[in-house]
Amino acid sequence: MASDGGVSCLRSSEMLNVGIGGMEPPPLDLDEVHVLAVDDSLVDRIVIERLLRITSCKVTAVDSGWRALELLGLDNEKASVELQRLKVDMIITDYCMPGMTGYELLKKIKESSSFRQVPVVIMSSENVLTRIDMCLEEGAEDFLLKPVKLADVKRLRNCLSGDVKLSNGNKRKLPEDSVTVVQASLPPPPPTPQPSLMTLSTDSSDSSPPLSPVEVFSSPLSSLGDDDVLTSSPECSPTPEESPIRRQKMGSPGLDQ
């Protein structure tokens, strides 16, 4: 059940060890996607955590934006930021939270040099267009309407798989054949030596986008252009028919700037 400090999970043995308080971060497992989930509601945290785990993500779930920033090493309190930085491939956050909203957290992440490339997904129970626009304009990767469903998370996971695999060109396991097919059609990667930790999130030293293969290829995020309906992408799950606007999409903001 829920443990201390607002970091919750059902089975604490499965929880990723985070490198805070002087602990060494665990060896990075490049085959696994790590998601940081932020939600003040315990019920929602448990659900999103399960949704992510079921789609083969490692998850760290926290109950506030402040806690998230702390784990990311972005709160100005901690001294040796390097040691305490968490490797994340995606951040998914609730919009309405006391203290710091998901929007404010999004801004702080996008302002940071180390984490601005990390896709941030906003979740909200309210389908407010101005809110959605605001978040997308600030660089949110996607906006999910709560309650979040398995299809939503699978879609995110597929997109994330595609991005990460193509950006670092290593042997990540991919569950989707379609993405593997795309991989096969890639031209040979440029023969530059790859840093060993080449991920979207932690490679702050490389200012040139390691995402350039992603621009060209499978990521539905970029291939759709202005089309904001993800159902047109063959890799993504069909849009649930219930809500009028399930979410809106835009191309990866980092690539357009």
């Binding site: 059902l10 509601s41 315990l42 019920v43 929602d44 448990i46 659900v47 399960r50 949704l51 079921i54 309405c96 006391p98 129970s125 709560k146 309650p147 979040v148 469903k149 398995l150 219930e242």
Partner: protein, 156 residues
Amino acid sequence: MNTVVAQLQRQFQDYLVSLYQQGFLDNQFTELRKLQDEGTPDFVAEVVSLFFDDCSKLINTMSRSLERPENVDFKQVDSGVHQLKGSSSSVGARRVKNVCISFKECCDVQNREGCLRCLQQVDYEYKMLKTKLQDLFNLEQRILQAGGMIPQVNIS
């Protein structure tokens, strides 16, 4: 030939369908069931248990906020309703969620009487759902103990 397991499975299926038909549960509960497997057979039960704890806590807080007519903290009540609406929506507790919608409306216009009625109603609904789901989970246990599997139930 109807084995004990088949009978229990039938009972389970009928009961679950009736909960949807009577409006206690909605599609989100179906979504939660998708997240349960042999490795996590108690997932749904654990989540709803947390939800019911949430209900109890929030109802207490809101009750205190509404207690004195001359000094109602509607902001506090609104916050409670928002949280309750969110979590009920996340577990598929349809009736509870619907009461929260009315509750929010009463809160918005600072209608203390209306809020008190909604509070009472939300208390009733969550407790009713708790009983119903307990019966459902008991049926699940009986199926498993009889060596059977929990049926996939398609709710159209």
